[in-house]
Structures are given as C-alpha cells and as structure tokens.
C-alpha cells in the first residue's frame, strides 16, 4: 500500500467509515510507516480537539438588538454587515493574519522537532539526548501452554 492510499484510509478509519479489512490493511501499513503514523496521530488529535470545542453562544443582547431593528424599520443593515464593513480595512486584515501565521509557524516547528526527536509532545517538552528511537513490535509466536506438575 502506498502512503497516499494510507492517508485516504486514515480519514475513513477516523470517520468510522472503513471496513474491517480496510482497517486491518491500514494497521499493517502503519506498523512500518512512521510518517503515516504521525499523520494518524495528528488527525486523531484534530478530531478530538474539534469535538471538545464549545459551541459559541449568541450575544446576550441579541434579542434586544433584533427588537430594536424591527422597531426602527431598517431591515437591510444587519449587525453582521456592519461588522464586515468594520473589518474590511487592510489594517485589521493584517492584524488577523499575524497570529494565524505565528500559530502555523509554531505547529511547523513542533512537527519538525518531533521529526528530529528533540521533543516528544507539544505540552511536555523534554530534551532527549539519544537520536530518534526505532521501535519494532514483538514477533507473533505460536500459542502453546506447557503443563507442568505442581505439588502443594
């Protein structure tokens, strides 16, 4: 299986849409592909964090604002349109882009560090003096049960 195919399957598995065989195929691929494992972990974390985000609540004075608008008879000028106009100046666009770019930069750095083995997680940063560790799963052994004699 190619990595490009695995990455499609990762989405299916995380969305619960993959068949049993597809899941098994993906797991065998992940077993030997650290890049795809990283993608799987990242996607899992994204799904988890998105689920944990709170649903935004409407402003407390929304009802008053709607009532006032209805009373004034001006139905064209919505608060959203006002806000858009307010944000349409270049100054605010630049201000919004800076934290976004900074966030992307930090994420890029984190991923790079993970590649080089210098950090393990984003919140718990700890230097590892050894180079990146390679892991290999224990081989499958045939099931057998010795029957020894015991006296008690």
């Amino acid at each position: 299986m190619k990595c490009s195919e695995a990455k499609i399957l990762i989405d299916y598995v995380l969305d619960g849409e993959a068949s049993y065989n597809e899941e098994q195929t993906l797991r065998f691929h992940l077993n030997g592909c650290s890049d795809c494992r990283r993608v799987m972990l990242m996607n899992k974390a994204i799904s988890k964090n998105v689920k944990e985000l709170h649903e935004p609540s409407p402003p407390e004075d929304l009802m008053d604002m709607v009532k006032a608008r209805l009373k004034s008879g001006n139905y064209n000028k919505t608060p959203l349109q006002q806000k858009k106009r307010f944000l349409s100046s270049n100054r605010w666009r630049i201000a919004a882009v800076i934290p976004f770019a900074a966030t992307l930069f930090f994420i890029y750095q984190t991923i790079q560090n993970e590649h080089s083995g210098s950090t393990y997680t984003t919140s718990h940063i700890e230097e590892i003096s050894t180079p990146e560790i390679q892991y290999a799963p224990a081989p499958v052994v045939a099931y057998s049960r010795p029957s020894s004699v015991s006296t008690f």
């Binding site: 992940l30 650290s34 799963p137 224990a138 029957s147 004699v149 015991s150 008690f152």
Partner: protein, 284 residues
C-alpha cells in the same frame, strides 16, 4: 474559528489522551542496540503490570511511559500461563484495571488495545470458540502489534491478554488466542496480596488435564498424600477438579490460590470414573 482550533491544538498534547488507559507498552533493547522491541501489557495496580513471559526472557525489560523507561524492581513469572508480573516499588501507573474471574462468551464484543510508543491501536474483535485449556480463539488474524495487548469487554472490564497465534487446523488459518482473566486472576491476586505460594501443605500433586488425555478439562490429581487435608476431604488420585464454587478451573494455580485466599468453605466439582461428585473443602 480556525485560529481557535489551531491554538487549542498547539497547547494540548496529542499523546496525553492515548496514555489514559491501563494498556501499557513494554520494551526491551534489541541485541545490537539498534532498536527497541516492544510488546503490550496491562497495568493491574499502581505498582503491577502483566505482560508475556516469552517477551521478558532478557533482564533489561522496561515499561515505556512517554519518553521514559521505567525498570521493574522485581518480576514474578507464571510460565505455565505464559505470563509475567512486573513489580515496581514506586507507584508508576495512574490507570489500571484489576483482572476478575471472567471469560467472555463466544461472540461477545471485545476491544483489543495495543499500546505502543508510536500510538494506541484499538481493534474490535470477538471470541469464536473456547480452546481445550480455557483460552479463547479470537476472530483476528495474527498481527505482531497485538502481542500482549489487553482485551476489554463491552463493560470496559479487563477480559484477558492476547497471547499468540493459534491454527485451529480447519482451514480458517492462523488466528490470535486470548488468555482470559479467569485463568490467571487467582495468580495475579496472590502476587498482589504478596501472599506468596507457601500454603500449608494441601497434599496433592496436580497438573492441568488436557485434551490429549481424552478426559474432562480441569485439574488432574496425579497424587494425593495420605493423612493430608486433601485426602481427609475425600479427594483421590485420578480425580479431575472441573469447577471451584461452580466456576470452571483449568490450572492447579487456581486451586492453590483459592485455597490460600478463601474465607469460607469451598465447593469442588470433581469428575471421578466419568461421574460428577461434589467435595467440600472446609475453610482453613
């Protein structure tokens, strides 16, 4: 909104949620030190974990917790069951699950959790049949990442440990075998209680009765000492103990530790000359 998602990602550990399980990762250094070979296991107390005996035949076995290696202070092996207990003087496991006297029925929904430093694998499966020695054949093909992985039932109870592959020889090919908790929880309990196995001599020499003997499954008494507790209770050489307090037993360890821990009389179901009888062992 996107910023919020990305910021929350940045300040949360993507690994922390995966460590919130009693499934653990056990490692040992490869012969030439090029890589770490890993096997799963399960924490059964803050200080105890169980993994596969076959994996721990080297002295440098350790538990991998994030970026740390934690070496056990001692081990207790149960070779007949293929298990080993890793014992730590300090409390090292925040999440653990004590084994119970349960064995999932055929078809029961199970979740296999293999914990490796590279991530947690959760695989759904179910037992297809019971093997002669009480182990279960899972509907899962062999996968090295599953070795030693704990298995949980639909109630999140620890149901057992994946112990290796088994070919039933009927064309289904190799499947993974599960060692259910009912086969080893007596042993685990006695190690946790530090009770040891120095029971007052009960007076039997026993071994697991296997299908090779064409007899009922249970504990075969090879010898019963004269004037011992066992003989006083009416046990005879050749008896096969199939149940203790109506629970199936397969291994002398179960009888030994039950006698040790029991606070009330025990009822043994014994097969003798193809007939089933009941024998009471008074509390000691």
């Amino acid at each position: 909104m996107l910023n919020l998602i990305l910021i929350s990602l940045l300040f949360s550990s993507p690994f922390s949620s995966f460590t919130n399980t009693s499934a653990i990762s056990v490692g040992r250094n490869s012969g030439n030190g090029d890589f770490i070979e890993i096997c799963s296991g399960v924490a059964i107390s803050p200080n105890h974990a169980v993994t596969l005996f076959a994996f721990t035949n080297q002295n440098d076995v350790f538990v991998i917790e994030k970026d740390s290696r934690i070496f056990p202070d001692s081990t207790v092996s149960f070779r007949d069951m293929g298990l080993v207990m890793l014992i730590f003087n300090e409390e090292v496991f925040s999440k653990f699950e004590q084994p119970r006297n349960i064995s999932p029925p055929n078809g029961a929904a199970l979740l296999i959790l293999a914990n490796h430093p590279t991530g947690l694998s959760a695989i759904r499966s179910f037992p297809m049949e019971h093997l002669d020695d009480g182990a279960l054949l899972l509907a899962s093909p062999p996968a090295s990442e599953l070795m030693g992985a704990p298995v949980f039932d639909a109630y999140d109870r620890l149901a057992g440990i994946v112990t290796g592959s088994y070919d039933p020889g009927d064309g289904r090919g190799e499947l993974m075998a599960l060692l259910p908790c009912n086969l080893w929880y007596y042993w685990a309990e006695s190690v946790l209680d530090e009770a040891g196995l120095n029971t007052k001599q009960f007076g039997v020499t026993a071994m697991p009765a296997t299908s090779g003997l064409s007899v009922a499954q249970g504990i075969l008494l090879l010898d019963v000492e004269a004037n011992s507790i066992a003989s006083d209770c009416g046990l005879l050489e050749g008896d096969i103990i199939t149940k203790i307090n109506n629970s199936r037993v397969y291994h002398p360890e179960a009888l030994k530790t039950t006698i040790l821990n029991s606070t009330e009389d025990l009822s043994l179901t014994v097969e003798r000359n193809s007939a089933e009888i009941e024998i009471i062992i008074p509390v000691r």
